[in-house]
């Protein structure tokens, strides 16, 4: 125990030192600001950037305040009501559906262990549906199943499909559940092959379906174990902390924007509908320039769209926690971040493209705005830095130093605010926040003109190329021209501004 204690002490000391290092950097920036800059009159563009900043920080602040309201005031009350509602209306059956593909055996074993345990302990008749590709996974699952010897009301179904992608895995799993003819109160939990359930997740999620008849699906809070470097690990953790706040904010309006593929609960009556299964399996987009293309990744966005289109609400349960095992696709942080962001931003933008078409009436003002904001934010995120660099050339380096100081201070404040979300914070967060903003925005701009390009990180499945030669070449070259054009217009704006 003493040994464990000293390790913890060393870790906290290290964190302290890192914080001191960061604060020293902020202090140095402060010293680097030349005397007189703070009192001299500023060029006009500072005011425009200031206005832009107020808008951007305002949006962030709104999410934060809404998120905190949900977490600390609204959710506890809703939870109390939901538990009461559960006494009158209980789910008849729980399906825990897991999709696995080429995840290392250690993770798979941990994941299935947690799921079988949860199935046994949740107290409802439960079926574990394993949608797998490899024979080895099937053997592993069967073995674990025998080890636990679950009681009679718990059953296992194995669906083996060809490795043609997660969407097919999900669709076949849903069809398998549909064969059982589940009733209106049955619930289906869709779980990823790298997601470990923390005990009690089912018991925490199920009551909300009893309380809100219009909630079609809900999603859960995520923490992660990253099998990679410290930066990679903090980067993932930061994302989850930010996600937590945003999800909470959107949950206040029952319009959570993603039904995370990692772990989400659906009503069985929803996922067993042929049209829903078809949406997940064959989701596609018709684009004015890129033609019609099928979605490969982002099944969670498809299920969200399908639900919202049908008029269901979506919800977030912050205290139902899952733990995911993240395998970064590359050892190099930047390459890994690039690959992951390419996938994430692609999913989000493909989704955005058509979600906004649902209209303000269906989505509500807030959601409608947030969706539009996702499209605008990739440009506004770049305005500050670009303007600061151009201004530094025109008016002197002091402006850039001032800008960096501003960034360092604001990101530190945001990091401290993230602490209230209940996730742990690290001195790397201010830097990572800014990295995400700039790198993410650049990635988004790049992807927004190449919506047809998508690939999994773990699986090299890529969509089949369209046979039409013109379309293939047009997609490549028009995407390049559009990207170039967009940056030209952006910089014309910056040059006009500064």
């Amino acid at each position: 125990m003493v040994y464990v204690g000293s390790i913890q002490m060393r870790e906290s000391l290290l964190t302290m030192t890192n914080w001191l290092l960061w604060l020293t950097f902020v202090g140095l920036l402060l010293l680097a600001v030349p005397y007189g800059v703070l009192v001299a009159d500023h060029p006009n563009f500072i005011f425009i950037i200031g206005a832009l900043g107020i808008w951007r920080y305002g949006v962030g602040m709104m999410h934060f305040v809404r998120g905190m309201m949900f977490l600390y005031i609204v959710f506890p009350r809703q939870k109390h009501l939901a538990n009461k509602a559960l006494e009158y209306l209980q789910p008849s059956h729980i399906y825990l559906m897991i999709t696995s593909f080429r995840i290392d055996a250690m993770t798979t074993a941990k994941v299935y262990k947690s799921i079988i345990k949860e199935a046994i302990e949740c107290g409802y008749p439960t079926t574990v549906v394993a949608s797998v590709v490899e024979m080895s996974d099937e053997l592993l699952i069967k073995n674990l199943w025998e080890n636990f010897t679950p009681p009679a009301h718990i059953s296992l179904k194995i669906v083996r499909i060809a490795g043609t992608g997660k969407r097919d895995g999900l669709a076949n799993g849903f069809r398998c559940i549909a064969k059982d003819l589940p009733d209106g109160t049955a619930l289906v939990s869709v779980i990823d092959g790298d997601t470990e359930l923390k005990p009690g997740v089912v018991g925490k999620c199920a009551p909300f379906f009893s309380l809100y008849p219009n909630v079609g699906a809900l999603t859960t809070n995520e923490t992660c174990q990253v099998l990679g470097s410290e930066v990679m690990s903090q980067w993932h953790k930061l994302r989850f902390a930010q996600r937590h706040v945003n999800m909470s904010s959107m949950a206040l309006a029952k319009r959570v924007l993603t039904l995370t593929g990692r772990m989400s609960f659906f009503r069985a009556s929803v996922v067993t509908q042929t049209s829903f299964i078809n949406d997940v399996e064959n989701d596609h987009l018709k684009h004015w320039r890129l033609g019609t293309f099928k979605f490969l990744t982002g099944d969670d966005k498809s299920s969200w769209f399908s639900l919202i289109q049908r008029g269901w609400d979506t919800y977030y349960v912050p205290d139902a926690v899952i733990n995911t095992w993240e395998h970064p696709p590359d050892r190099n942080f930047f390459r890994a971040a690039k690959q992951l962001m390419f996938r994430w931003t692609g999913n989000s933008l493909r989704q955005n493209h058509r979600a906004t078409k649902l209209g303000i009436k269906r989505l509500g003002i807030l959601t409608y705005y947030v969706l539009w904001d996702q499209r605008i934010s990739m440009w506004t995120s770049l305005v500050g830095l670009s303007a600061a660099i151009v201004a530094a050339f025109k008016y002197g380096i002091a402006i850039l130093v001032m800008y960096l100081l501003w960034i360092a201070l604001t990101r530190t404040i945001i990091t401290v605010l993230l602490m209230f979300s209940g996730h742990r914070i690290s001195p790397l967060y201010p830097i990572l926040l800014y990295f995400n903003q700039i790198f993410g925005a650049l990635m988004k701009v790049y992807v927004s003109f190449r919506l047809d390009r998508q690939s999994w990180t773990r699986q090299k499945t890529a969509t089949k190329q369209i046979d039409d030669k013109f379309q293939r070449n047009f997609n490549i070259y028009s995407a390049r021209l559009m990207t170039f054009g967009a940056f030209c217009l952006f910089f014309a704006f910056i040059m006009r501004l500064v």
Partner: protein, 381 residues
């Protein structure tokens, strides 16, 4: 007791194995020889990627492509697999042994071969049912079916092309603007103030009196043309004479009422630049009345530049002069550089350099005293 070997230089047998195990499976190859005769030759051994046979009659060399069919006999039924192959080894003179590699095996052929070889290796007897069920099953994973993705139709392509072209045009404009502003901001030096200055003649009042202006600003006048009339009381001229003559008050009053009109005439054929006196105003002797500028008067631009830009300003430097009249800028050349004599003056900090610029074309008189912008370093062609 176990002994631990320090020798790590061990190759496990399986690592040096053949890629595919070869089996001696009773089967034969049916092949047509050069003369068109059908031969049935026994297969020496068979693997998933090739086979070997021997023949006295065939004359094959390494690299030859051949076609034939592999025949397997199960109980009373024969199964023939049509195969293409390439000869990869020829051994021996008589009874030559040919090593062959399969080419372009179809999916059904691969599946059948695998079934037969695997069954043989595991000591099972292949029966016709196995083969039939192998053939009827889909043994390979396929690429994800995609009947949904499709290209744009003809008119949609045209529309996409048009929109993209329009966007690219717009972006090229933006690109030009970006380049232009980079050039303007970082390579062009601009005057802080500049004014058009024209050589001029001033006319002043010859007497005290009330003025009547006869010309307007901008008028062209000829030499000798009256420009103004000054009406002065006669008394001013005869005051001393009248005093000496001890004139009566009544006579003086008379004198006061009388006025002398003197005319101010133009000394040149020129135009009126400005008139500083107002009609019916009382002007005193020597007061500046009008500015005139001749057709031959020289016009210059006087501009102030920041001290920091001094390095780009030398006598002879070509500049652009924007007269802010909506027309294109005109060219000019720096003819003189001066700085205020008293370097202690506060203005020295900012506007130190006074630059005189000679425009290439003479400026119309109407530009006199008008502000201008002078740019150094801009494209002067």
């Amino acid at each position: 007791m176990t002994t631990v070997s320090n020798n790590t230089n061990i190759v496990h047998e399986s690592e040096a194995q053949r890629r595919h195990s070869r089996v001696k499976l009773p089967s034969s190859l049916v092949i047509t020889d050069q003369e068109g005769k059908k031969l049935q030759l026994p297969i020496l051994n068979l693997s998933a990627t090739g086979f070997a046979f021997s023949s006295k009659d065939l004359q094959l060399t390494v690299g030859d492509f051949e076609e034939g069919s592999l025949v397997f006999k199960f109980n009373s039924l024969e199964i023939g697999l049509d195969v293409k192959f390439q000869v990869v080894g020829v051994h021996g003179e008589k009874d030559t042994r040919y090593g062959c590699e399969f080419h372009e095996l179809g999916r059904e052929e691969i599946a059948t071969l695998r079934t037969i070889i695997t069954k043989f290796l595991s000591g099972e007897i292949t029966n016709i049912n196995d083969i039939l069920s192998t053939l009827s099953r889909d043994n390979f994973s396929k690429a994800r079916e995609d009947a949904i993705s499709k290209a744009l139709t003809g008119s949609e392509k045209l529309r996409a092309l048009l929109f993209t072209t329009a966007f690219v045009m717009l972006s090229l404009l933006a690109f030009t603007y970006v380049l232009f502003s980079i050039h303007q901001h970082f390579f062009v030096v601009q005057s802080t103030t500049a004014v058009v200055s024209v050589e001029k003649n001033g006319l002043s009042s010859p007497k005290n009196g009330q003025i009547e202006v006869l010309a307007n600003t901008g008028d062209s006048v000829t030499k000798g043309q009256p420009l103004a009339i000054i009406s002065s009381p006669l008394l001013t001229d005869v005051f001393t004479v009248a005093g000496a003559a001890n004139m009566e008050v009544s006579e003086l009053d008379k004198l006061l009422e009388r006025t002398i009109r003197s005319t101010v005439t133009s000394p040149c054929d020129c135009s009126v630049l400005s008139i500083s006196a107002k009609n019916e105003q009382f002007v005193s002797q020597g007061q500046h009345l009008l500015s005139l500028s001749g057709a031959n008067s020289k016009s210059q631009i006087l501009a102030r530049f920041k001290n920091a830009d001094l390095s780009k300003l030398t006598i002879g430097t070509k500049v652009l002069i924007d007269l802010i009249d909506g027309n294109a800028a005109i060219k000019g050349e720096i003819t003189a550089l001066t700085v205020p004599e008293d370097i202690r003056l506060e203005e020295h900090k900012v506007y130190a350099v006074l630059v005189t610029i000679e425009p290439e074309i003479a400026l119309p008189i109407s530009f006199a005293n008008q502000p201008a912008i002078v740019k150094v370093g801009d494209f002067v062609f």
